[in-house]
Amino acid sequence: MKNSFDEKILEEANDWLNANQKVVLATVIQTWGSSPRQVGSRMIVNETGDFSGSVSGGCVESAVVRECIGLIKDNKPCKKIEFKVSNESAWEVGLACGGEIAVYLEQIN
């Protein structure tokens, strides 16, 4: 449950910011049931939808990217999103493993 000093996602976020890109940091803050990545897992997204890192095993990343771009467009500081199997959009972005996760999005400015 600990973060690795070696994980380089925050360093990458810094590089993107230094290159004048807008960056949203997405972090897994809660999980219920079986979920592919633990609390504290991260992913970064820029305004054009490039991303690095992961918050699940590939199940919800596309939705997270969309939400992050939305956050930048609306110029909002942060947002919490939850992914459940029971979501209406489950067929599209649900977690196949049956778990639920909450992801926190924040713009780094």
Binding site: F5, D6, T27
Partner: protein, 226 residues
């Protein structure tokens, strides 16, 4: 989180300082927490819970609040004795895992910088080398020389300091001889049996990277049993 906080976090990570990031999920305000240091008004009321998460090395949301904590704790120290071919691959694998590697080898021709770029190798005998490294029950030892003169003192140090993982390379026969020597040196069977020998999980591989993979797999598995 703002950009200057991000830079501070990166700096702390690079200097291996333990810390936590505390975020108010409602308004997005974050702060960097270090044990013993005070927090701003925003988070001070939750100090006890924050301390607790930190002690348990846990990430998560404090119950009934919108405060999220992420802890960054120092990686596990892994000491490799023997700057041999397998060690070169172990260093590569460890890069993507939360391990901090130190290599000990008194033989200068093995411990060259060219063989291990960006890696500090302690070019001393284990007894001397361990004076430079802080070790405890959160440390791991991988002994690779199968030379009793080099491996044995390191194994004895690891047993005495109760390392959570001790592994030694060598055939079954080599390991039997090693156990016999440790018995003669006064170690009991529990202590001797704490050594994984022959080292590694049964992978069936034979090449240096394959052996390194089987060792690192065993190390990760034992790390999660802690």
């Amino acid at each position: 989180m703002n950009h200057s906080q991000l830079k501070e976090i990166i700096k702390k990570k690079a200097s291996k300082i333990e810390f936590a990031i505390v975020t108010n999920l409602e308004n997005g305000l974050s702060e960097i927490y270090e044990p013993g240091k005070s927090l701003s008004k925003e988070f001070e009321t939750h100090k006890e819970q924050i301390d607790n998460f930190f002690k348990l090395k846990k990430n998560g949301v404090i119950e009934n609040t919108e405060i999220f904590i992420e802890t960054y704790i120092r990686p596990i120290r892994v000491i490799i004795v023997g700057a041999v071919h397998i060690a070169q691959y172990l260093v590569d694998f460890a890069k993507s895992l939360n391990f901090e590697i130190s290599i000990i080898d008194p033989r200068g021709y093995f411990a060259s910088e060219q063989r291990f770029p960006d890696m500090k190798i302690i070019n001393k005998w284990p007894d001397e080398a361990f004076k430079e490294i802080e070790t405890n029950e959160n440390s791991a030892l991988i002994a690779l020389t199968h030379d009793p003169k080099i491996d044995d003192p390191a194994l004895q140090h690891a047993i005495n300091k109760k390392f959570y993982y001790i592994g030694a390379l060598g055939s079954k026969k080599t390991h039997e001889n090693r156990c016999q020597r440790l018995k003669e040196a006064g170690f009991n069977s529990d202590q001797i049996n704490s050594i994984h020998g022959p080292i590694g999980i049964k992978l069936g591989g034979r090449s240096a990277p394959e052996i390194a993979l089987s060792i690192i797999a065993q190390l990760v598995s034992e790390t999660y049993k802690k």
